[in-house]
Symmetry: C2
Subunit: 202 residues, 2 copies
């Protein structure tokens, strides 16, 4: 039993090493210019092992991205049925974004590198969207049960809308950094939420 914990830790370690190697190589040579063999070699594993950790080379660089989603899922237990869903989801995201400390914390730095890369690498962006897409259904289902409704249209709209707003804010955050006029992540997210309200009920 302590054994499985040890195994898990080892696995996480290897995952991190492969992920780091992938991110670095993508930054240096681009996604298309990097083969799975390159990544595997840099991480000290075989290509075969690489695919035991990640289903595609793009996914390897998305570890910082997937960790955000995992944190969202953990925090979902705190949600209640008698308050607007979107509002609560936004609070969850706020809390997560705060932990990034505008790119100064380690997770923040890593996420910034990934989002920056996503700007110029459509394959990476698509892989990220694909990952999110996979999670949405499970998320929506949980919220549907929480609300005790048959129809998941409401939860689905809340989840996807929340995701869109966060995504837009993160994009702008990375964009502004690259353009040399950095903006604050939380302020950008607040601005995006304000604009959403304004768009929907002008």
């Amino acid at each position: 039993m302590t054994e499985t914990v040890l195994r898990e830790r080892r696995r996480r370690q290897t995952e991190r090493e492969i992920g780091d190697a992938a991110l670095l190589l993508f930054e240096q040579q681009g996604v298309d210019g990097t083969t799975v063999d390159d990544i595997a070699r840099a991480a000290g594993v075989s290509a075969r092992t690489f695919f035991r950790y990640f289903p595609s080379k793009e996914r390897a660089a998305l570890v910082p991205h997937t960790e955000l989603d995992e944190r969202v899922e953990e925090m979902l237990d705190g949600l209640v049925a008698d308050r607007p869903l979107l509002e609560q989801l936004e609070e969850v995201w706020c809390e997560i974004l705060v932990a990034l400390d505008d790119g100064r914390s380690e997770p923040g730095r890593l996420l910034l590198r990934v989002r920056r890369l996503m700007r110029s690498e459509p394959a990476l962006r698509l892989a990220a969207i694909g990952y999110d897409e996979e999670r949405v259904d499970a998320l929506v289902e949980r919220l549907r049960v929480l609300l005790g409704v048959d129809d998941d249209l409401g939860p689905r709209l809340a989840v996807t809308t929340a995701a869109v707003v966060v995504g837009v804010a993160l994009d702008r955050w990375a964009d502004a950094r690259d353009a040399g006029r950095p903006v604050d992540l939380l302020a950008t997210y607040a601005e995006a939420r304000r604009l959403l309200r304004e768009s929907v009920s002008p």
Copy 2:
């Protein structure tokens, strides 16, 4: 000059034939169970030619989907700066959805088949999202210019939000059909818009 028109027509014809073949084969054998060679053979062209028409096998089945986006882009000229963007985009989409006639018109039937397939084929869904993603930037830029603003945060939120709401409605439409209790597409879209308003300003 009449020549280029002829060529264009021929090209469209081939595109349609490949697209039809792809859609049919995907329905019959699944996306993973269908190779590019299968599609090309069914359409009477070589695999090399296939890739001169579509960048991936998934894209071939998305012709009905891409035609919607093209129609959106055509109708963008009608937009004005002094009315809420999201509202105008929703009107554009309404007009397009009307033309589908709840799946009774030819484009409607085709789109229904694609959306149905997208439910069970993640690769297809991802390809569709990827296509949309490619168009968003150009769309956002046009709207930014139209509004005469520097910042594209507003237009981007409007475009992506509008897309999310349409996407959710189309999903539910195809879902309900498959489940044997069909719903009206326009009514579903209206319901989705209502729920968005409710979510955002409860």
